[in-house]
Amino acid sequence: MTLHTTHVDWFGLGPVFVLIGASFVALLCAVLVPRAVRRLASATIAGAGFTAALVLAVWLYVDSANGHTIVSGAFYRDRWTALGQVILCAIGLATTLLGVEHIPGWGRSSDPGRRDDHIAEFFALLLASGAGMAFFVGAANLMVLFLSLEWFSIALYVMCAIDYDPFAASVGGKAADARPEDRDAFGVAGGSLEAGLKYLIVGSFGAGTLLFGSALVYGAAGTVSFDGIARAVASQGLTGDTFLVTGIALIVAGLGFKMSAAPFHMWTPDVYEGAPTTVTAWMSSATKVAALLLAFRLMTTAFPHDEHLWSWAFAIVATVSLAIGNFAALVQRNVKRILAYSSISHAGFMLIGLSAGSALGGRALMYYLVPYSAMAFGSFAIVAARERELGVPVTLENLAGFGWERPFLGVAMWFFMFGFAGLPLGGGFVGKFYVLAAAYRHGWVWLVIVGVLATLVSLYYYLGIVRAMYMRPSAELQVQPGGSVAVSGGAPAKEELLHVAVGAAFVVSLGSLFAVQPLIELARHAARAFPL
């Protein structure tokens, strides 16, 4: 019996293979490379991997004017995928830069031997999750969707928990009567573990939901491939089929979890706060890119006939996300939590573009992701810098004076906050404009109003961060700067790479304000992949 194996378009899967390959190499570093250079070696490999994948993705973009599926309809080789991969690889590269100086346990230990624990594995997981996301954005059937989702999710679960310190004081359960801002005293590493577990359980629940939804859709359409579903729905008139709509609903919930859209968002603030900040930076930007791009593809490719259902669903979810994210962020003191809620509200904004379900909405979504991910990454990176400086979680209180002490990071943070708030510093402004325009064109004036009101509420906490950085005298600062930096002999942390990463985010978010037309052209070509 001859087995005619399917043709594999190696080039089409190039970025994924490069990343996964780099991941294996990095993993080998963990055992083969001496500890002294392990950090450098694995970081170099990660950087090289992301760079190579980025180049390949750009090449793919150029070379994939006519989108089609490859490997028996499992994966889309088109510009939407390629553009998504470009963004993901860019974020990955920046995360690598940020991660080079990543110190497990926030550097609370001066033990030089501990410093490089699992650093190679960290980069391997980073590359692996990047590969999973790069795969996810191109998924062409529900099975690949589910599997690649789990692929990067599992990697992220581990990354969230990677910083736990097995020897820190056991304080679990004691926090019940402590205010969140007093939590500094407790082991942050415990937070990392808690974050990992919460993410894992909620994530698995979401995955289960997604799986069951996929099963129901499969039951309705008889196929798992996106265009096959659309064809089946069209040919058999399944638009109102109960299996199909229930399945779509469960898939919406499952994906909503990944986008951290309310009411599936509850894990987000905790996980973002508890996870190592490097990982948070990566998650908050890359996961959203992947989930939103995939969701847009899935909805418009597989379920165009049920647009009346999912566009409303996403509109409502967007509204709830905007409300919850912004209101909850108002009363936070921990900066990572504020940014986490902010990411929820931005998920709401991007869902507006998704819910419009039009080519304009797709462009808006794709455009929005660029400045958003730059700003999200950049702001978490700055939080990471402050954390490394202080050795404790960053709150609005201990951010005091930061802007003046670290002018570059301060200006960048200032810039990101105004950009998040939709003020015209950076592309966040145009992004908001774009998604609202998409909503308006869809006939949803109410959604436009919701969007602008949400922006108004959000101003308060974004400005609050700027205020904390610049308008409080640093004498108010209660915490002694210290951490590993101070203990290990006064040499300032090597932050050049972090600065480069933040600078890159800065340039991207600023540049996207001016280079709207080129970006939109890219997005337009990318959105041609869809039957819109």
Binding site: E150, G172, P180, L193, K198, A207, G219, V224
Partner: protein
Amino acid sequence: MLGPDVAWYVAVAAVLFGIGALGVLIRRNTLVVLLSLELMLNAGNLALIALSRHWHNGSGQIFALAVMAVAASEVCVGLGLVVALNRRRLSLDVDTLSELRG
């Protein structure tokens, strides 16, 4: 086909899914929560296989096989976390893992 219609299988899967979800929602022991998640994934698998039978195509079965591997992976990581929690002498009660909140 022999035996009940595919719909019955799917109904059973739905009930199993509900049981699993309920388990996650009412149990505090991390291990039992992980077990309940397995129930949910298995409910999905049952539905997939039943529908695979219904459509006479293999996608469902393959999907189910993949899900098994994924479930194993999740369990692997989940149990790793449990071990790590245990090593920090932390309770396995999920309600005590609430340092992060607000």
